[in-house]
């Protein structure tokens, strides 16, 4: 594994889970079993934003992700916001932080602040010589449907689950 793809999606549906499934479908991750991990970028990996996931293996496989999700019930005030931010140093392991909420500016700031704290915690690395980025997805509220915004960092390819 040496590519971590950052994907931002959104979806709507008659239930919260259906809306989540639709949001995953918008970035082509709806046929994987997602396994959440905490937020470290391995030293040999690079982070790449993408519009949708390419073919990462057979449906039903396990895919490792860091995920942010925000769900709005019908009529609930929004928008739903989900963000993934990352920072990788010139050399060594990087970090991915997720954030969610109902205000784009607040959600973005939450992720920025988290990344800053993460870099402070890892002051042994040269962050200024590395890479950083952030992707934030929003989903507008709907009077009759659940809506979900997701942002995911998908690690490499999927693997058989059993």
């Amino acid at each position: 594994m040496n590519v971590i793809r950052v994907l931002a999606g959104r979806g709507a549906g008659p239930t919260a889970l259906a809306a989540y499934d639709a949001a995953l479908a918008s970035v082509a991750l709806h046929d994987y079993n997602l396994l959440g991990v905490s937020s470290v970028v391995p030293p040999d990996a690079r982070v790449e934003p993408a519009e949708t996931a390419p073919d990462l293996g057979p449906a039903g496989n396990r895919l490792t992700v860091v995920e942010a999700r925000s769900t709005l019930a019908p009529g609930e005030r929004g928008p739903a916001c989900a963000a993934i931010g990352w920072a990788t140093p010139r050399a060594g392991a990087g970090v991915i932080y997720e954030g969610s909420g109902t205000d784009p500016g607040t959600t973005r700031e939450e992720v920025r602040e988290g990344l800053e704290a993460a870099r402070d915690l890892r002051s042994d690395r040269d962050w200024a010589g590395g890479e950083a980025g952030l992707e934030l997805s929003t989903a507008e509220a709907h009077p009759e449907r659940y809506v979900v915004a997701v942002a995911l960092a998908a690690f490499g390819r999927s693997e058989p689950i059993g």
């Binding site: 979806g11 259906a18 934003p49 952030l134 709907h142």
Partner: protein, 108 residues
């Protein structure tokens, strides 16, 4: 489709995310990031951000200087990527100059 009918609200199922628009924006973002990085010395952390809002995706390039607050530029309007990069680098350098001295903080 979200980008073409922003007031219609989301529909059931997958929602298209204006891939061409986002690709173009990401390309501009990378260009500004790269050009600003070339203009600034070591010690400045530069990152691109894409916010996918109701009016379509919007891009921002943010710089954390070695001293002072984050400065950023939005990718909108008529400015070229070179102009945006120059403006961003100048703002970041000025922010450093204003805040260097007793309040110095290490580069991250």
């Amino acid at each position: 489709m979200h980008g073409n009918t922003p007031h219609a609200g989301p529909q059931d199922g997958a929602v298209e995310l204006e891939p061409e628009e986002r690709r173009a924006l990401r390309s501009d973002l990378a260009a500004v990031t790269s050009e600003a990085r070339a203009l600034l010395p070591d010690g400045y952390l530069i990152g691109g951000e894409i916010v996918d809002g109701a009016d379509g995706p919007a891009g921002t390039v943010a710089v954390r200087p070695p001293a002072g607050a984050v400065v950023s530029v939005d990718l909108s309007g008529e400015a070229t990527t070179a102009e945006l990069a120059r403006n961003l680098a100048a703002a970041a350098a000025l922010e450093t100059k204003r805040n260097s001295g007793a309040g110095d903080r290490p580069a991250r």
